[in-house]
Amino acid sequence: MISKLVWENVKHRPLRTFLSALLIAIPVTLVLTLAGLSKGMMEDATKRYRGVGADIVIRPKGSSFLSLGSAPIDERVVGVIRRQPHVALATGIVIQSLADVFSSAAGIDVNEFDQMSGGLEFVAGDLFKSPDEVVIDEYYSHEKKLHAGDPIELLNRKWRVSGVFKAGKLNRVFMDRRHLQELTSNTGKVNLIYVKVDEARNIGQTVAGLKKLLEGYQIYSMDEFTALFSSNNIPALTKFTRVMIGISIFIGFAVVCLSMYMAVLQRTREIGILKSLGASRWYVISIILREAVLLALVGTVLGIGMSYAAKWLLQTLVPASFPPAVDPAWWPAAAAIALLGAVLGALYPGLRAARMDPIEALSYE
């Protein structure tokens, strides 16, 4: 019967119910979008690294899986690696950050990269043929509104987009390695080496051999490397997510506290009626709590819906910078965040309602 009363109450004031649920939904959306964005970016990065077709990744000394550090690798090391047992292919790549922190350009030797990855698949135009040409992937093309043949400014220079390729191969922008090395005063240097071994069963042995040979370098099998792409391995992201969760709980608390406080004031007389019928304090509190829980659940559902809308928005506007995903594993957490905020927010109005003097409440106009 309490549930029916709660349901009728929330139906009785649809605008208040909708606005309260919407305000609860906003932080739910933020948390889900953040989680989805982390997942999307990690999945995208994993897919692109695997798209290289390599079995082993070698990164500079002092680098982490997130940053390449400042010490590049001498290009001659690639030649040494090629001579190691079981190494079928090795290619050095230069990664250069662009002005936009979310994107970078990769300098490749086209022949070596094609052998390893199977080549870029073009949806428009073709591979760069001159040093002032670049190729971009379809997401970068969509986000920056660039097409094959368009001019583009990168690294403070004018370039021409010679082709647009299907995404999923290491990077979104490729250019000639030699040219990029010269432009960045890194002639003879690379900052990533990809290695393909003759047979998959030799990967472990080859990694061990390379670790002995190249002491201090970060050497991973591709499986080990892509396993690092988890938001748990990015401390700043984990902290940011926690802060967002805290803010979300607080917003949920504030919204529900205000909304239920108003509801209790508006329903003073009704609370008096319930008390005159013999309703205990707990009966009255449970009405307020259940209404808050209902608002939180509606807010969660709305928030989940809005996270899909946010995903669509990100995918439409900035697919290259923020490849989003929806992570249903976060739905229970989002519901828990909304519920915790709502229950905390409903406690004070609930206690206030429960402590009302029935005679004063009944005389309330």
Partner: protein, 225 residues
């Protein structure tokens, strides 16, 4: 009507604190009400009639004196015990009906049972009471869709659904026209006669008071001789 008193009140005083001023609403009330009696309480505004109901109904404690309802002494009862009293022993009917506006008539009745810890379906015999009250066909309407007379009849149904020993009706016809007043008063008398329901009714109206077995007068917080 049985002669054994279901309500026994002796030297009842009730003092309210309004701001910094003490207001003595009841100044030594003595009253006995027999089980099954229909008692009308008449008096001008401010005579303490409603306060007497609030004390007898357990909505507020007495300042001093003795109040026994159904053999239970209300003096020293905790808030929770008085809440329990309202669930099972006494029930109110108010001048302004006091139905929950978001619930249908049926649900307004059902919630009284829910509060009392019973299932929401009334006892089989309750259909007879609903027929007596003439609201059996109006149960699925919300209060805003009912006339004043119908709302008050729903309020009476809600009050008696848990078979309380005592029904406290505070100006039950105060908001009704004369036709509806007559219907409600006849119903109260019917309930009293048919079910043996003890009823205490506050009224300003001498004609309404005449529906009771006995009329007592209050003035300035006391019973008039």
């Amino acid at each position: 009507m049985s002669e054994s008193p279901i309500i026994r009140i002796e030297k009842l005083r009730k003092v309210y604190r309004v701001g910094k001023v003490d207001v003595e609403a009841l100044r030594g009330v003595d009253l006995e009400v027999g089980s099954g009696e229909f008692l009308s309480i008449v008096g001008p505004s401010g005579s303490g009639k409603s306060t007497l109901f609030h004390v007898v109904g357990g909505l507020t404690p007495a300042t001093s004196g003795t109040v026994q309802v159904g053999g239970r002494d209300l003096g020293g009862m905790t808030d929770a015990e008085r809440t329990q009293l309202r669930k099972t022993v006494v029930a109110f009917v108010f001048q302004k009906y006091n139905l929950l506006p978001t619930l249908t008539a049926a649900d307004n009745i059902a919630i009284a049972r829910d509060i009392a810890g019973r299932d929401s379906l009334p006892d089989p015999g309750f259909e007879k009471v609903l027929e007596l009250l003439g609201i059996a066909q109006r149960l699925h309407h919300k209060p805003s869709e009912l006339s004043g007379g119908e709302q008050q009849r729903v309020a009476i149904a809600r009050a008696v659904v848990n078979h309380p020993a005592i029904l406290l009706a505070d100006e039950p016809t105060g908001n009704l026209d004369s036709a509806n007043s007559e219907i409600v008063l006849s119903l109260l008398r019917n309930l009293n006669e048919t079910l043996g329901q003890t009823i205490l009714m506050i009224t300003h109206n001498p004609e309404a008071a005449a529906y009771g077995h006995r009329i007592v007068h209050m003035r300035d917080g006391r019973m008039e001789p």
